[in-house]
Symmetry: none
DNA sequence: TATGAATGAGCATTCATTCAT
DNA sequence: AATGAATGAATGCTCATTCAT
């Protein structure tokens, strides 16, 4: 019933400009994550967002466009962050490590949205699927190119496909929603760091090695932002 | 489309006993894989299976029970195979490697069903979800115990959680449906072997190593059955 | 069949506002009364009301909610009438008699709806049943309190429970649908008056009585409105 | 699973002759009473009776024939009892009283079946409805003739129709299932006696009376058999 | 920048009944 | 005297979307 105004307004306006769109996105994200895209009706979204159906269709052309919007915003942000890391100046091993940790941090921050996407992307019609697929592909290529750069420099094993290694890491992280439970013994941040460590370790060329370039511990004090708390539903997030 | 008579019949007898159930499962598996569980109607299933709706509901309590049945059969088979490998007599490194390759082979053989499951498991009601979750958990624990055995023997690094490592490998394989394309440069078998290799390599304790206990190549001549061809739709399966 | 436009429209405008709800209620009442609640399908209702299923479910959450709505409106009206009589100023005998005759009149006017209710109330789910049960109970208590007032004043025998006497009268009237036939020798109004007379007579304390306070005849000229004609299907209503 | 043998059997027979039929009737009666005829599926009946569908259709031509069977057996018994009372030798007042009390007793004994009938009779197809209607009508006429005999003898008021008075009493009793609750202050036997008393009192001619021919109390020691306990579900049956 | 009544095709599911064995 | 797989038509209901206001 009541709407919290986030900016000063005058007169008889009940909510600030664009707030309807924002509350629709927030409600949809939460519901899609909890119940799934298909199991959430437009009616439920508008009820949770405290707007009418007409308002939703004013801002979004369809239910699937709403889903796509949520994901594309997320992807754009993540791509931007990755690009900055990849374009950095340090040695490739360091940039690779930074990239992996950034994926962990971003996954932690947006677990809900990413869960929704993983479960529902296949339901989109061809047009919308194509658009997001291209952007997602772009993100993947950015990461893979970093791996390839590592291969060229000798830091990464060359007997395995950079594509496969990239997908392996991204999949392992993107699947945490199917098994991670916040009440378990590890926080999401810890799990993420272990996954990054496992990935980075797996990249090293097989055979005798002179010096491990980094310590295998989760590096206390370097935890990525948002790593410890991540979801509206379970701020702690420890798992088995 | 075609109905194979498994025993000779005379007159206008409908079909051999139990054939209705079988054709329902076959039709549902194919349709769920191609179009998705939610996008496939019961009407379409019975049309493809050439039975009536009543027959479907005679054998399965609901559409979701049909989905669950398909998955549970698959999981039971996979669990049985893993148990035999885990209970084998060789050194743990070899059993771990065999287990990983078996997961690859099984994933290749049943990619369709596993894709369906990955996309639709979250739609099940609590009761059905609980039953399969328990069985799935059991399968996971079997694999994880092998990893733990490796940790105890010194073959596997101990600075990472066996649970996390197990999930990482299973997730990487279970997610191939989101990116693998049969027209790409690698067959599914090759991708699978690379994933196994990456996983096995990542398990090794960090630091100097005397002798790599196994060659990193995909082990020619040992390819698991069904590894090279996997799906009704794309027997070759090469990917980018 | 025919649709009466209640306001002038132009072009291909569908129908005046709120008319959909009204025609749904009218069609449902008629069909439920003629064929029974369970034997009437939602499809038949919307066809008769010349609306779509969606419109019906826009206004009513379910078929049973539609049934409940019809009855609750009826009950509210009847309760209101009874309250006015009970709160009147005359002697209790007169108010009791007026109340009984009002029940007769109301039953005559709404025989169809009441028949439907008597036959189908037990099919409702607990939630809906509870709501109407409470209102129905309220109506009953209003009548019973009048009987109790009569007992306190000495006009009504005290050796029998006011609750039981009230139920007896209401049941006798509410069951007329099982046996009354309009082609019989008595009109419904006559039957109703006899029932009221029987009830009122039964209330009198047993033993010698000085003066019968009212004539036992059906009181010509005082027939309640709608008593003589009651149903779309049988305007006359005489019975055996 | 286990069936209690009601008569000695030999050999490998699992249940006595006709026991399937009996358990079907028992299960159907119980389910129809609790959930309603329409809301009870044939599947539920055979599950409760521990027989198969085929067995049910072996003994009964249809679901409605099963319903009809239950009621006709009951009606035959009740009619037989009433006939014996009506054909008795005492004065008409006494026979009338005995008849009323017998209806009370019978209603108490078979409340479940009678409830089913009251709710579901209207669902039968014309053929079955006609058969039972004739028998029910016969029962009613037997009672009404007793009332008429009372009118002829001067014991019963003649200003009201014997038909109407009979229906009033039978309806009041037949409707107890809609309001009587076993936890209330009165037992079903007490309610029944009050209803009989109210009815009998209402029959007396209006105006001065010399001697009340009977005491208004529920006549302790004369309670009809079965009056105190009646239903599988609520042996006590007290009501508000 | 909304509103909300209405659409209409589609959905999963139920159910009394049949019949070859 | 039963079995139980199969029928097939019907049922109540959902839902993303539209559009006059």
């Amino acid at each position: 019933m009541t709407v919290t105004a986030t900016e000063p307004t005058v007169g008889r306006r009940r909510a600030p400009r664009g707030s309807a769109r924002r509350s629709i996105v927030a409600a949809a994200t939460e519901l899609f994550a909890r119940r799934g895209y298909e199991a959430t009706s437009v009616q439920e979204i508008v009820a949770a967002a405290e707007v009418t159906k007409g308002a939703l269709y004013h801002w979004f052309g369809s239910k699937s466009e709403l889903l796509t919007s949520i994901y594309r915003e997320l992807l754009a942000e993540q791509t931007q962050r990755l690009r900055e890391i990849a374009d950095g100046s340090g040695p490739v091993e360091e940039r690779l490590r930074a990239a992996a940790l950034d994926v962990v941090a971003h996954t932690a921050e947006h677990a809900d949205e990413l869960t929704v996407w993983a479960r529902s992307a296949h339901l989109l019609d061809d047009e919308q699927a194509e658009a997001t697929r291209r952007e997602r592909r772009h993100y993947h290529d950015l990461f893979r190119d970093l791996v390839r750069e590592g291969q060229a420099s000798g830091a990464v094993r060359t007997d395995l496909s950079a594509t496969v290694m990239t997908h392996a890491f991204l999949s392992a992280l993107g699947n945490t929603h199917t098994w991670f439970h916040p009440d378990g013994p590890l926080t999401f941040a810890e799990v993420g760091h272990q996954l990054a460590e496992l990935f980075l370790g797996g990249l090293r060329p097989p055979g005798p090695e002179p010096e491990p370039p980094h310590s295998p511990e989760p590096a206390p004090g370097r935890r990525p932002a948002g790593g410890a708390q991540r979801s509206r539903r379970s701020p702690a997030r420890r798992n088995p």
